[in-house]
């Protein structure tokens, strides 16, 4: 019903939200959702900006603002800026009174002005919260109103640069308003729930505009998103903010450098590791597969495609140490990107792992390789010992998808893997297709994926209650972890949305896509057993908020998801017997 009403009427958001064109006004109409409680009836959207406007006064204020706008529009050249600087506004947050006082100081008559102006409302006190919107006058005649009407906004909207300059010069509360052809327009207020829907629609409309190369429209929409996002709370707000930033980067072509300090990324990933179970799930399930592949082997070699802090390996070493029959000799090869400050991060991690190995009594050897890309390495560099003596496992957690940004790289790496002749290849990847050729498809997929991700972070981060003793303080690390995890995901979002070509490295693909690729490259799947499933389920049950996480088994692969949406998939592979380079059978 709400939607039908919207369809018939114009809408106007007073904090500078989207203006939808509509048929001619039918008088003031109130959205019935706004309850007029006696003292708490302040409009929440405006309250965010520091203006106190009673919902009951909204129509009145709207009308007055319109009159003011018309007046200011006509007297543009007369230096109306005195209104903003000279007029004394008592109690500026009381918008109704303020507008009235401004109106009373204008005595010009109203003239219709047909140019398009920009509405600027500065939030009190903070100069950065300028809210812009501009509207296309042609909207006024458009009669297509629907929830998708954002897409119907014609592309002819143009900024009026004169009014821009005028506003920049004024100090705090300067308003210049749109001109309009009708004196009294119907007014409809919107509550924040619908704003949430609006937010998603605006995001998609903006992406559509970018897809169609309509950058001016996209620019306006991106600003809308900022406004709408403010009225939300929690995960939706954060997701919208990150996506808005990524879209803005794409529109303004301010591409983030990918060569940001990898140590910073490592730090972010550590926080992500601590906040939510995705990485732990990845590590534990991959380790279980590797452990099972290594049964009966006395010398084992693991090649880690992205060593980072080496968080995966203590658990594997401990499991090897306690396996029946004693631990094998364990060799680890870690691959990592070059560090900007030329420190040998790989070697440091290797050293820590070596100490741990000594503590628990596992024979350990480490080698680190610095490479910009996995495609730069091949089997000969990696010092592979003959497979009769040493069993090799290759482990890739969130790393292979980066190779898809350069043609030919993934094939080269898969060939190298085949030359290495491993007993098992464990692959953990995001379960989403963020590599579609069409931008809008990518965008929509990413929006859904990261919304779910942020949802899960939200619940796991907020579920910490008072510790049992009451003595331990609420761990502040928790909030910092949460924020850093969000930044970690935000960078992925930025890469998926804003970058292109070889810069866009977050080219996630679904499990099925990887299956096709691995099968056609000569690999056979290895089923992750029930042990891995049980361990993963237990691990998730330990997490507070663990009711939301789901482990699924998908034809031998394990997927971890949030409620119904799988987010991460672990799979294991071995060489097909007939792929040429495999030496002998690989039974597990």
């Amino acid at each position: 019903m709400k939607r039908d009403r919207d369809r018939e009427r114009e809408k106007k958001f007073f904090n500078g939200g989207v203006f939808n064109g509509g048929s001619s006004g039918k008088g003031k109409i109130w959205e019935e959702d706004e309850e007029e409680t006696p003292d708490a009836g302040m409009d929440e959207l405006l309250a965010v900006l520091g203006y106190k406007v009673k919902s009951s006064d909204m129509a009145d204020v709207a009308q007055k603002l319109e009159q003011l706008e018309m007046a200011m529009g006509t007297t543009m050249e007369d230096g109306i800026t005195h209104l903003s600087t000279d007029t004394v506004h008592k109690n500026p947050s009381d918008m109704a009174g303020w507008v009235q006082s401004m109106l009373s100081s204008i005595s010009t008559n109203f003239d219709m002005c047909n140019q398009e102006n920009e509405l600027v409302l500065s939030g009190c006190g903070s100069s950065s919260s300028i809210i812009d919107f501009s509207r296309n006058e042609q909207n006024h005649q458009t009669t297509t109103i629907s929830d998708d009407d954002l897409r119907a906004i014609p592309g002819g909207a143009v900024f009026n640069s004169d009014s821009n300059k005028r506003h920049r010069s004024s100090s705090s509360f300067s308003t210049s308003m749109l001109t309009d052809s009708s004196a009294a327009r119907p007014v409809v207020l919107v509550d924040s729930q619908e704003t949430g829907v609006r937010l998603v629609h605006t995001l998609m409309a903006c992406a559509e505009a970018v897809q169609q190369e309509n950058l001016t429209l996209a620019d306006q929409l991106v600003r809308h998103i900022g406004i709408l996002a403010v009225s939300q709370s929690g995960a939706m707000r954060k997701v919208a903010t990150y996506f808005a930033e990524a879209l803005a980067r794409r529109i303004y072509k301010i591409y983030p450098q990918d060569s940001i300090e990898s140590s910073y990324t490592d730090v972010l990933q550590m926080h992500f590791y601590e906040t939510c179970p995705y990485l732990k799930f990845a590590h534990f399930t991959a380790n279980q597969a590797i452990l099972e592949a290594f049964t009966g082997c006395n010398k084992v070699h693991v090649i880690d495609f992205s060593l980072k802090q080496g968080m995966q390996w203590p658990a594997l070493m401990q499991a090897l140490a306690l396996r029946p029959g004693g631990p094998p000799a364990f060799r680890l090869t870690g691959i990592g990107p070059p560090q900007p400050d030329n420190t040998d991060a790989l070697q440091q991690v290797g050293w820590k792992l070596a100490q741990l190995a000594e503590t628990i009594g596992v024979e350990f050897e480490f080698r680190g390789f610095v490479a910009n890309s996995l495609a730069d390495l091949d089997a000969t560099i990696l010092d592979i010992r003959p497979s009769e003596t040493e069993a090799v496992a290759i482990n890739s957690v969130f790393e292979l998808h980066r190779l898809l940004s350069r043609p030919g790289a993934i094939e080269k790496v898969l060939n190298s893997i085949k030359q290495i002749n491993p007993k098992i290849v464990t692959l953990v990847e995001q379960e989403a297709n963020h590599n579609a050729g069409v931008f809008i498809d990518r965008f929509n997929e990413a929006l859904h994926y990261y919304s779910t991700m942020f949802d899960s972070l939200e619940s796991s981060g907020s579920s910490s209650s008072a510790s049992p003793t009451g003595i331990l303080p609420q761990p502040p690390v928790n909030n910092q972890d949460l924020v850093m995890s969000e930044v970690y995901l935000g960078r992925q979002i930025c890469n998926v949305v804003a970058c292109e070509g070889s810069d866009r490295v977050e080219r996630h693909e679904t499990l099925n896509q990887w299956r096709v690729r691995m099968n056609s490259s000569g690999f056979d799947p290895v089923h992750l057993g029930s042990n891995a499933f049980k361990q993963a389920s237990m691990l998730l049950a330990l997490f507070a908020g663990g009711d939301g996480y789901r482990v699924e088994e998908n034809d031998g692969c394990l997927m971890l998801g949030w409620h119904t949406r799988p987010l991460i998939a672990t799979s294991a592979w071995k060489l097909s017997p007939d792929s040429g380079t495999g030496a002998g059978e690989i039974e597990l």
Binding site: K280, P314, A319, L322, L356, S467, P468, A541, G545
Partner: protein, 164 residues
């Protein structure tokens, strides 16, 4: 002449008794007096607590556990939270609350998971530069230094109360 039996004069009996307690009671016992505190800190008691119902006994576990911080720490950081959480989670829900005290039944998977988490905890504690934050698994009982070394721990999730 009366011969009073004073438990503190018979440490071996005391140890036998303490061996049969559950974790919480053992912690409470540690608060009784200095002698009891000293005995309760004995790691073998906690080893017994952790693994007395696990069969077959895992070989080589002791070396590893002692190297990674000892059984008492293992119990507090990993075993207790794991058992508590998983007890609520496990579909076998026939025991009433009064049974919980006596049921320390482990499955092999829980043991393995706990040990892995314990190893991760050690690695983080010793090797990764810790930030601020509570130590892993501060319990209400069990002697002083549960929270002695505050560290960044990915096992923090084990400290949080579960939304049951």
């Amino acid at each position: 002449m009366g011969t009073h039996f004073f438990i503190n004069d018979n440490e071996d009996v005391l140890i036998e008794i303490l061996k049969r307690l559950d974790g919480r009671s053992l912690g409470v016992a540690a608060c009784v007096c200095k002698l009891w505190c000293g005995i309760a800190r004995n790691d073998s008691l906690w080893e017994h607590l952790c693994f007395r119902h696990v069969s077959p006994p895992l070989e080589g576990v002791r070396t590893v556990v002692l190297a990674l911080g000892g059984y008492r720490r293992l119990y507090m950081v990993c075993v207790r939270p794991v058992l508590n959480r998983l007890r609520k989670w496990r579909p076998i829900g026939m025991e009433s609350d009064s049974e919980i005290v006596r049921r320390v039944y482990w499955t092999r998977h829980e043991v393995e998971l706990s040990l892995s988490l314990f190893c991760v905890d050690y690695y983080e504690r010793v090797f990764l530069s810790g930030g601020s934050g509570g130590g892993g698994g501060g319990g209400k009982h069990g002697g002083g230094d549960a929270a002695a070394a505050p560290c960044v721990s990915s096992l923090m999730f084990l400290c949080k109360a579960v939304n049951v």
